[in-house]
Symmetry: C2
Subunit: 424 residues, 2 copies
């Protein structure tokens, strides 16, 4: 049997969607590594009544561990510690030693701010005294920013962490070492998890394959399979206890047999990382119109991208295509800026201007304007050019709105490049 956990994300800014929650997903991964089953994530605003309801809900669901994020700041709307203390039936007490540690952290930070907007030291220390109020008997997690966390033992055990991911993450690693958390998670099962990724297969096609696998594999019911289509990529995640590994191997064999061409990753590797490996020893340059730098920006995501990324041109205007990439103005006049000949000329221009051996060009109509009956919004032309290999040119019609078309275009470009490099 697996230990179960729930996550309570607090903050009106998260509830109302002004800030995307990054803690829930990160904690979900960490729980999975620990073999703890995440049952629920709940999000509420800064109202103590709503936070308390969610804590009670998770406790009623029988989770062994609750993790909260957010609401530990110095402002009056930060009420998580108070609420958790009440929920756990514990008094809240001032920890004067902790208060002194927070003061030591804050003083040097204040020097960053100067001028009429700068707050005075006393004001700030008063605001932060509140952060040294902790539930009686809780284990304190020293602040990474200015907010300490706490672990409150009990059934369930509650881990209270701050909202900023760069504070929450190191504090989580300390939290799981506490006796209270170790006891809450005792006796957990370790699960295996595997992920296969595909590109270019519709979800219904996969559903058909899974039905056939279900009929063919004896222990299929021991595999917990979830599938997800996003940005044109299909992810198949399978979770199972170690002694069901043979059933997973059989599933993988079925997927390989039916979808060899669509599978690009059997170990969960992302296309971004696969490409970073394939690009080692090469020099790549981009030429982007509608995506306007998003592809170059994505290629630069991995640390050490300077090994292979020479650079790129965002040729948003036709003049930029001509001046910066050497595209023939007559070609644009004849075929239009969104056309395969122009994409090819852009890629050739990127190769030569950057002295690169690999180039990708994207030119398309992201919308909402600019579409025509022949080239509606979503029409995007791609060209992958290799100095030492073939040129691959494609035109696709991508669904969705401006932002979807632009983001999806970078994914299509990544896959065209991957196929060119892995087969070339």
């Amino acid at each position: 049997m697996s230990a179960r956990a729930g996550i309570v994300v607090t903050g009106t800014e998260v509830l109302t969607g002004r800030v995307a929650d990054r803690n829930g997903p990160w904690l979900a991964d960490r729980l999975l590594e620990l073999g703890v089953e995440l049952a629920h994530i709940t999000i509420c605003g800064d109202r103590p009544g709503d936070i308390e309801s969610q804590l009670r809900f998770l406790a009623a669901e029988g989770v062994d561990l609750i993790i909260t994020s957010g609401g530990l700041g110095p402002t009056a709307d930060d009420l998580t510690v108070d609420t958790v203390a009440r929920f756990c039936g514990r008094e809240i007490v001032l920890d004067t030693e902790l208060e002194a540690r927070i003061a030591d952290i804050i003083k040097p930070m204040l020097s960053r701010y100067a001028g009429p907007d700068a707050p005075d030291l006393e004001t700030v220390l008063a605001a932060n005294r509140k952060q040294a109020m902790v539930p009686a008997g809780a284990t304190i997690l020293d602040p990474v920013g200015t907010a300490p966390g706490v672990v409150v033992p009990g059934t369930p055990t509650v881990v209270v962490l701050p909202g900023p991911p760069r504070e929450l993450q190191p504090m989580w690693h300390k939290a799981i070492k506490t006796t209270a958390v170790q006891e809450a998670l005792a006796g957990r099962t370790h699960y295996q998890q595997q992920m296969v990724r595909m590109f270019g297969l519709p979800e219904s096609g996969l559903a058909d394959t899974l039905r056939q696998a279900q009929a063919a594999i004896d222990d299929f019911h021991r595999l917990e399979i979830t599938t997800c289509l996003r940005r044109g990529e299909l992810e198949i995640v399978t979770r199972y206890e170690p002694d069901a590994a043979a059933a997973y191997d059989q599933l993988l064999a079925v997927l390989r047999e039916r979808h060899a061409r669509a599978i690009f990753s059997e170990d969960g590797s992302r296309i971004d990382d696969l490409l970073a490996d394939l690009l080692t020893g090469r020099q790549i340059a981009t030429a982007e119109s509608c995506t306007a730098g998003l592809l170059a920006g994505r290629l630069a995501d991995p640390p050490g991208a300077s090994r292979y990324l020479a650079g790129g041109v965002v040729s948003y205007s036709n003049e930029a295509k001509v001046e910066l990439l050497g595209v023939d103005a007559g070609l644009i006049a004849e075929h239009g800026a969104v056309s395969e000949p122009v994409a090819e000329a852009m890629a050739r221009g990127a190769l030569s201007r950057f002295g690169a051996d690999t180039a990708v060009a994207i030119t398309g109509i992201a919308g909402p304007g600019g579409g025509t009956p022949e080239k509606p919004v979503g029409t995007v032309c791609f060209c992958v050019a290799l100095a030492d290999g073939p040129m691959v040119t494609r035109t696709t019609r991508l669904p969705g709105e401006r932002a979807d078309v632009r983001e999806r275009s970078t994914t299509v470009a990544m896959h065209l490049l991957y196929r060119a490099l892995s087969t070339g």
Copy 2:
């Protein structure tokens, strides 16, 4: 009194963080416009037991309306409709007319796929028959993709919507016109909401201001204020009933008095939109090193960006800075690629190569490698150059990891550009 709502987001891929939820935030905005208070968002995997627990929790919290997203697909792990029917105590029945409509939608879509990965028509129709099973007495929301939604009247009323945002959004607009939803939301209060945005003020400084405002403004308690720091921008959102408008005006006066320089928006406008307006009639070009296209990509986000965005150069390598932007190689050797003189030369190069009147250059050390004691990771140099105005050059040290530094750099660049254009 306000009607209250809860949102249930289903999907193991969302719970485990492999896919970011876009529906919760979007629905939160729509509920706000309707004057409906969003109390909770809950996220669970594809297990019917967990979905049902969350529905029961929200019903126990007394919400008038529950909206679910996801779990309407053709695969066996899509169980939301079944679960909602059980929760509402209704039978599930096949709607043959709906089944025929779904078939009409699917047939032409299949022609997109060909080759060995293509599923056959019968298989797909069988998988989608499941999508025509609906709770007895529910109002059907016609599919935008292939999955229909349903509105199940009751206390609470439940609106069941598909997961893909481009399907969910138009179907929501139909859902709110149904009698069931109108009745669930009858008698709601309309709230005002205002947002002020600032840049360059620490959160504790704002906390101090809010304490002073609390002491000075009689009806301060009628303002529900939430503050949020993200990407270096501080958002202050205030929600109040219309007859508390005078208290909000007083709050705004206090903010203006103390933080005039930091406030860049009093109506919630984002820096991106403010800049798009200011750039009208101009031609901007970018020169990016560590951000590698993210700034150009962000400038291209608004529809119609081609009015002002000429293009940009991603000069990731030193060679690209020299060849594409005409930066003097000796300048790089003398000062280093991350230096104010090189940022200025990059900006001048962008102005001249694109024939632009406005340019922004960014060169920095995003990490994790490349830092030195003098120029640690996070050191970023910016230059804003106007053909008709002054050149603004700045060096900042940004916190966080590689992705944080790169994203935050684009925000700093946007604000430097905004200040140069709005005061110039």
